[in-house]
Symmetry: C2
Subunit: 323 residues, 2 copies
Amino acid sequence: MQDASIGGMVATNASGTTAVRYGSMRDQLLDLEVVLADGTVIHTGTRAKKSSSGYHLTGLFAGSEGTLGIITEITMRLHGIPEYTMMARCTFDTPELCAVAAQNILLGGIQVMRMELIDATSIAEVNRQNGYDFPDKHSLFLEFAGARAAIEEEVKLTAVLMNDLGCENWEVASDPTKQKEIWKARHELSFAYQHINGLDETGSDVCVPISRLPELVAYARQLIDESGLKGGIWGHVGDGNFHTLVLFDPKAKGQREKAEYTNEALAIRAIEVGGTCTGEHGVGLGKIKFQEAEHGAALEMMKNTKRMYDPQGILNPGKIFFM
Amino acid sequence: MQDASIGGMVATNASGTTAVRYGSMRDQLLDLEVVLADGTVIHTGTRAKKSSSGYHLTGLFAGSEGTLGIITEITMRLHGIPEYTMMARCTFDTPELCAVAAQNILLGGIQVMRMELIDATSIAEVNRQNGYDFPDKHSLFLEFAGARAAIEEEVKLTAVLMNDLGCENWEVASDPTKQKEIWKARHELSFAYQHINGLDETGSDVCVPISRLPELVAYARQLIDESGLKGGIWGHVGDGNFHTLVLFDPKAKGQREKAEYTNEALAIRAIEVGGTCTGEHGVGLGKIKFQEAEHGAALEMMKNTKRMYDPQGILNPGKIFFM
């Protein structure tokens, strides 16, 4: 695992746990310096916070995965560090209920800083790898950040909403050490799965309207269970974005196909309910097959855009679409 | 004066007084249905809150002023109504100090809902038209909105920051009627200027990095004073976006040219300091002349985009650039 670079994050319009508060990379950009296929250097924006001048090329290059030009300089807005934070964690009987909980928090107007789901299988895996004893149930991780008085109110309101949904194991902390402890299972999640020797993994990155999130999370769990493989679900549920991770033995016949079927079925369902096959990681090669279903007639205009910017096909060829 | 329509606001990437909190129209969009020049209907996005799939055509159509396709359906995100609001107003000796005040509020991490400047000339005009007696000084109008406890803290902190800068006439209200009274001069501003019979008006819409806002506001005041014409300044200073309005007698020789010179000089200076000639109203015909200075080599790619989407030049021809 390597750290994400700002350039890579812009090129894929990446995001992460704080996107629920600040949006994804595209939302942070003021200007890009881009080298075009013929060597021309352009600036796509200015340093002004907003503009109604010309076409919005900044947004076009963000998420274009190097296929339209090479981004060589990035001007982005910064956000101040909030004065006060609190972290919380609670568990539910189903991952679907975690998604409903996320929905209720958003509908309650609570401006969380982060809101993450980890399903029971994944918590159990973190426990097993590290000797922890976190309740191995479907868990919702929350961070609140802002002015102290406002945060204390938000946490109280959230506790009421979670109780109404029948949450268990509610824990909340303002002390920095305890905050870290509460979120430990979330932070160590991807390492836990990487430590399973001899198995490969495959995963998905769907993002759906928040109103459809509970059913999609339930469907993802069902797909993994039906595959007979070991796998987990986690994600940035405040955005409607979540991941599956399915483990398979590359030497066992048919396992890879079963694992990959869960990704495909989930991506197709996400698109059907008005969502996207990739919420934050990009298309690359693996999601080319979903582009037509997701973008329909717009795909042809995207291809025309590619042809216009890169007539000789020299910029990250073969990515995003089959030309 | 007519009300803005959502379609028109998307087509110009318009914004207004709450953009300092929520961003401009482009930031609210999830999906657009667009009819292309050849009649093809496309959708540019999905209903998911974020996506890394395909090129960001939504952002491209927003602000394209009807030159790339006709927007026929708009899916946008909504924001909840905050539970509590307070409004404030104070005055300073120069419009430049109002801009510094706006800067300090942003640097203080105070998440204002609105933050507006009106210069002394314009306040005096509102007073004169309506028989009011608001202090005819350079004024900063503020709205705070959110959780009550947080808002009360923000207002206290703002009062300290404003006092440190030597503000006068600080007034603040939570009572709805008093809130309205405090902002009255702002709300009635554009009507006041429209009631000056026999005179035409022209105006600008520059947006600059917040760090350059004080000098630009001072420069705008200087340009108006040097023109010998009557004019005012107001704007969404939390975004670095402000307007000038210069009145002229269309029958008096040279007055129109003098008024328009203020716009041109201001737009050019805004571009020089890393800003834009139009923060929220669009290019149309009047700002075509600034497009090359603002966009440089990127302008050619914008024109290529126009040619690709509209090869026959049937979509709002003649707007944004000379082709």
